[in-house]
Symmetry: C2
Subunit: 446 residues, 2 copies
């Protein structure tokens, strides 16, 4: 059985029933779909594009496996001709997209698919599934990074991420958006993301004595010793490890850090810092985790808590305050004619679009123009060709390079947008040619 | 490369560093870990256990693949002896658990792992990852079912679920908890979940005329025709399809339903119902989707909106108002001695525990007792042996059977707990032997 993340059946039933109707109606002309976000989630000032790499990988490998075709043939909904046509289906189209790590705003497409209608249609469900999740997490993670300043930030969220792929891709998206690393070993193996880890309470509890647990761990991992000190009594553990630190030092082993995972983290950090400093261990750093997000990190940093790094999990990996985006992948052109949906509150801009971004003299983002692909405007165009005839135009950059690009992009955001609360919207102008096309499309009869 | 959901590296780094220390220290005695929820999310009155099937599957197949071992050997953190020991590692332990579909409450373990310490430790991350997500979604979906009464409920959430596995497992969890089906084709193939689907706006837009799209779809799918009528003007589309319905009827094709996906769903449903009834089509049903959750469904049902079924997506699949559970998988016993963590706000009950559930004369749940496994109490024990020596004791029941069990369980919840708002907590008594053990454990020195 194919893994879920590779299955062509990881889609909505209606994609397949629509495809059957397209096949029967001979509707195989070129379709243009664009993925965009309709509205920013409340309290967000921008989003960070992510997930393109996985979307392209999906398109390059899109096909139905034999067992999937057998199942479709036997499920009673699709005739043999339809199943045979599905067996031949591959993605043969073009894709234009913003690079991962680009900040973007409502109505701006971050990806466009140009392909025969059935191919572009079939891709909808998984394209949304991949782009919305990583964009959601990268956007959230970039906020945690802003709140944390230069402090160490590690993704700790695999366990409460929504399944395997969510754990894996949220590690990727958070690193892309500025985290320093992750605890997720598979993400380290796949993308070279730096790995961080400490110990669990169970490690302490499995030993008869907390100090014995500390010592065993330190001797086993002399290069990476971070001790979890809140299992029983945080300050007592901090005091008790001072003689251990001296004993280990005699053997050339140094304790790098302690981790706090419960209670008032700022208060414990202050007390533990004082204990360590008074005990002659100013170099042991303090790492904190437990129910953290950008607001809590900001509060701890603002209060001057002596915390050197944060493990941020659940609330970042699930984007807990805003766990989804109001996003869509919509048909904007078919068989050469622009299209738009006019549903209440969900109307879309028709046609193939481009986003131009202007910067001021200091290099800061000053405003975007949304216009037709065939028009030009001041600034740099953000959507670039990334796939032609179903194949990537060039190999994807390593993730570390994507991360550097994202950091440069986030560095030129207008200062106001860096606020964790909502501020006045970034200026995105819809150019006249796009307004004109929308009027033309609306004037057509349906 | 192994799929993420099968990889033994889909874990936190600290599991592996702890394992190395356990190997070096010869710490291979029997460990007992239990998974439980610390607190109900605000506004929830109970949770529905789910995810056991995937957790057992994970344990039965747990092993490191050759490429994973190579990577571990080369990453610079683990010595050859450790990697060789990992290569041999399989799960050889026992598991006791509540059946999927069982309602449960804080501090009640829903799963216990009894195994050599390294095996039980290594399982932590993925066990939490699997149990918390499906339990979260099953619990949310059971609320939507309560709000919807007997109306048709279909999972539409794959696209905004957090990745592939989240889409797949949320289809499973929502069906288990009372949904009628899903749009997710892979979930239909894997578990026989009934599939539902309509059409997308793009299907309408790809046709020059809305009515032509309706007719093409109906002729292609005469047995399952639900038409999406909100692409341009909902009421105009409802009126326009009346002559089409007569024309199709002449060919033996009936339109089963229309779908509304935008605007004020209750208001549109009333207008569309009136148009269809006046046009002699009282049998065409109305299906609604778009930003629905239990609160919105309850509001629509209470207002008497003539809606026959709901497609519920994003907010259910992400459990959007409460996208995670405060849950843990904690060491409760090692080498025959009970253990507990005492971290502030996170103290746990030590030892191997059992939950006994009492029912009143009418068969309604009346109260639970949390006690030691070796004790007895009034009522039925909820945790049962499901795995011995690393193998399932018996084959898992089909999902439809699990769903029936869940429906019977949910039917005997106390009436008050059915409220969508928080009510007085269900009585869970912690028995004296457990209090006594906790005191004994605390009296030990650490």
């Amino acid at each position: 059985m194919r893994a879920a993340d590779r299955s062509a059946l990881l889609t909505d039933l209606y994609q397949l029933t629509m495809l059957q109707a397209y096949f029967e109606g001979g509707m195989n002309a070129t379709a243009v779909f664009e993925f965009f976000v309709r509205k920013l989630p409340p309290g967000r000032n921008f989003l960070v594009a992510a997930g393109l790499e996985q979307a392209l990988d999906f398109l390059e490998h899109l096909h139905f496996a034999a067992e999937e075709l057998d199942w479709l043939a036997g499920c009673g909904r699709f005739d043999r001709r339809c199943v045979d046509t599905l067996a031949e289906l591959r993605f043969t189209g073009d894709v234009q997209a913003m690079p991962e790590g680009t900040p973007f705003f409502p109505d701006e497409p971050i990806l466009r698919v140009v392909a025969p209608l059935p191919e572009a249609q079939l891709a909808e469900t998984r394209i949304i599934n991949l782009l919305q999740f990583q964009t959601l997490v990268a956007s959230k993670a970039s906020r945690v990074r802003r709140a944390a300043g230069d402090k160490l930030l590690v993704d700790f969220g695999l366990r409460r991420a929504h399944g395997a792929e969510a754990g894996l891709l949220s590690a990727r998206a958070s690193y892309l958006a500025g985290f320093d690393g992750t605890s997720n070993v598979l993400a380290g193996m796949r993308w070279g993301i730096p790995l961080y880890g400490t110990m669990a309470h169970s490690f302490i509890q499995a030993h008869e004595e907390e100090l014995a647990a500390f010592e065993n761990f330190a001797r086993c991992h002399p290069q990476a010793t971070t001790l979890l000190i809140d299992t029983y009594d945080t300050e007592a553990a901090a005091a008790a490890l001072l003689p251990l630190a001296k004993k280990l030092a005699a053997d050339g082993i140094s304790i790098q850090a302690v981790r706090l995972d419960s209670g008032d983290l700022g208060e414990h950090a202050r007390k533990v810092r004082a204990i360590l400093d008074a005990g002659g261990e100013p170099r042991i750093r303090i790492f904190a985790s437990g129910n953290l997000d950008e607001y809590e990190v900001q509060r701890l940093v603002a209060a001057g808590a002596p915390i050197d790094g944060f493990g941020v999990g659940t609330r970042m990996n699930t984007s807990a305050d805003r766990p989804y985006l109001d996003c869509a992948y919509k048909l904007q052109e078919y068989a050469g004619a622009a299209r738009r949906k006019r549903s209440e509150g969900k109307a879309t801009w028709p046609g193939r679009k481009q986003v131009f971004r202007r910067c001021d003299a200091a290099g800061r983002m000053a405003g975007d123009t949304l216009t037709l692909e065939t028009e030009s405007a001041l600034g740099e165009p953000l959507l670039r060709a990334v796939m032609r005839d179903g194949r990537r135009i060039k190999a994807s950059p390593p993730l570390a390079e994507v991360r550097e690009y994202a950091q440069r992009q986030l560095a030129v955001l207008p200062d106001a947008l860096r606020d964790l609360e909502a501020v006045a919207a970034y200026p995105v102008e819809v150019a006249e040619p796009l307004h004109e096309l929308a009027r033309q499309v609306d004037a057509r009869k349906h």
